[in-house]
């Protein structure tokens, strides 16, 4: 059987009508010919989209949107200092003007200092890709857009080494979401092999794959506990009959593959979970009610599923799908980088920049300001002097 994408390509044989004469003569918002369907909703939608456009332009000049949903209650306890300092931040920048017919948008991997200076473009990268610094800060793992597998390179973008082979005959589409073990010896990632979607492990020098979580659909990359004994991952398991289980945060014992515990904060969909360097907290994106982006926010929770706390929401007036995404802890545990307003495909196309939030004070400052979507931050650990 041809694969699903090939089957969808057959739709290219359906003749499409020439709409251009209608486009150039129609008055936007008029009733469609011969239908008599009410157009109130469509008119309101057009007005809403116009509002989104106006806001997007205003935001471009005024900076980040107000984030009014301030956290309540006590802030988390002071994090235990860890012997790592904050190095550079690597992130994916998606070019909004690079869309080519039938192709995903172009993206590149950048690095920047935490104060927003010394921006450097490393390599072209897949827009699907997230990357990860090694624990010693000497390498970056990423999804290689040429091979679809995980590769590792130097911090300046040179000397890429292939770690996994993504063979479509073996069922692989892409290997994504790499996460280094704290000792730097292994990399966990999401991939498909022989129709088995799930989380796999590979030595950071390459080699055979070891299944960690078979039959699992992730919502973000895996993240390791600082002691390397557990992995946290958000997503859903599915069974042999392909019934999908609850979307939750799962804490998994790396040695046995057993789920130690799972929790579904507020009964909503969590994603992009990341473990704090001191091991005391998980930061994650939590979707809004009903799986919608609206009212989504970044939260903190203890690895035992207790003590849920709002870290930051991200409000964009007139944009219902604006939210903070993809938190990434700084190596010293004091800051979290995240994408503000990102993932939104508003009237101005991709939008979203990187911001840093101080965990104790919740003070937010801008890190990047690009034309498109800056996402998927990962922070370089640097040995303490």
């Amino acid at each position: 059987m041809a694969d699903i994408r090939t089957r969808f390509r057959e739709a290219d044989r359906i003749a499409a009508p020439d709409l251009w004469p209608d486009i150039t003569t129609r008055r936007p918002g008029r009733a469609p010919p011969g239908s008599g369907r009410p157009r109130v909703a469509i008119t309101l939608l057009a007005l809403a989209l116009a509002g989104v456009g106006i806001f997007a332009m205003a935001r471009a000049f005024l900076g980040p949107a107000e984030e009014p949903d301030r956290p309540s209650g006590p802030t988390p306890t002071r994090f235990v200092p860890v012997p790592k300092e904050n190095g550079r931040i690597a992130f994916t920048r998606i070019d909004p003007d690079s869309v080519v017919e039938g192709q995903p948008p172009k993206a590149a991997l950048y690095t920047v200092d935490p104060d927003g200076t010394e921006l450097a473009r490393l390599i072209d990268i897949s827009a699907h890709s997230t990357s990860a610094w090694s624990p010693d800060g000497s390498r970056i793992a990423f999804m290689d857009r040429e091979t679809g597998g995980i590769s590792v390179m130097q911090p300046n973008g040179s000397q890429g080494i292939r770690i996994t082979a993504c063979d479509s005959l073996g069922g692989c589409t892409v290997d994504s979401g790499p996460a280094w073990s704290p000792d730097g010896r292994r990399i966990a990632f999401f991939g498909v092999r022989e129709d088995n979607e799930g989380i796999w492990m590979v030595a950071s020098s390459g080699g055979d794959l070891e299944p960690i979580l078979p039959r699992f659909i992730p919502g973000g990359s895996p993240t390791w506990s600082p002691d390397g004994r557990q992995i946290a991952i958000s997503g859903s398991f599915y069974d042999a009959e392909h019934h999908v289980g609850p979307h939750a945060i799962y804490i998994v014992d790396v040695q046995t593959g057993d789920v130690v515990r799972s929790f579904r904060p507020k009964g909503r969909d969590p994603s992009d979970v990341t473990w704090s360097p001191d091991g005391n907290w998980l930061a994650f994106h939590l979707g809004g009610p009903g799986g919608l982006v609206r009212d989504a926010a970044i939260y903190l929770i203890r690895p035992d599923g207790s003590d849920l706390r709002l870290l930051t929401a991200w409000s964009c007036p007139n944009r219902s799908t604006c939210s903070p995404l993809q938190p990434a802890w700084s190596p010293d545990g004091r800051l979290i980088a995240f994408t503000g307003g990102g993932g939104e495909l508003g009237s101005d196309g991709f939008s979203g920049d990187l911001f840093l939030i101080e965990v104790e004070t919740r003070e937010i400052r801008r890190l990047t300001k690009g034309p498109g979507l800056d996402c998927c931050a990962t922070w370089q650990p640097v040995a303490s002097k």
Binding site: P28, L45, G53, G219, H242, V293, T321
Partner: protein, 154 residues
């Protein structure tokens, strides 16, 4: 010399309009809705000119939003998806038939992902959902499509 708004819109229409129409048609199952949604989106783009920065993405989003609204209106009136009475090229008949058996959300995510080639995060933004939720919809739709298309191939 920079292209004017109409030239820019027409270029996008010539390059992507038919593909956009087919995607909305696959999603809605209705030629009239596809034609009206896509034409309306392009007409709005013409009127708004240069204020739309990333034109093609805006058009994709708007076309689908308009089509979704039209389908919602139609459902509110108690109508179901129309039966396909016209002829389509071989292979596409089965595809259309199979897509019709998916839920509206599943139709949207598979069309945007497998036909329009949008990555999951873009599909999430286009559908106003989260990437996690889209992942689940996509998984369920993929499984259903495999079952249905394998039966069809048999």
């Amino acid at each position: 010399v920079a292209a004017g708004p109409q030239t820019r819109v027409e270029r996008v229409y010539r390059e992507s309009g038919p593909r956009m129409w087919r995607a909305v048609f696959l999603f809605s199952g209705d030629r009239d809705i596809a034609s009206d949604a896509v034409a309306e989106a392009f007409a709005q783009a013409l009127r708004r000119g240069d204020e739309i920065r990333t034109l093609e993405r805006w058009l994709w989003r708007t076309s689908f939003l308009l089509a979704r609204g039209m389908l919602k209106d139609r459902r509110a009136q108690g109508a179901r998806l129309p039966e396909q009475s016209e002829e389509f090229p071989g292979g596409t008949v089965e595809l259309l038939s199979v897509i019709r058996q998916l839920s509206p959300m599943q139709r949207a995510v598979v069309v945007l992902h497998y036909y329009a080639d949008f990555p999951v995060r873009d599909v999430a933004a286009l559908t106003g959902s989260s990437a996690a939720a889209v992942g689940v919809h996509l998984h369920r739709a993929r499984r259903r499509l495999r079952e249905l298309l394998e039966v069809g191939d048999g």
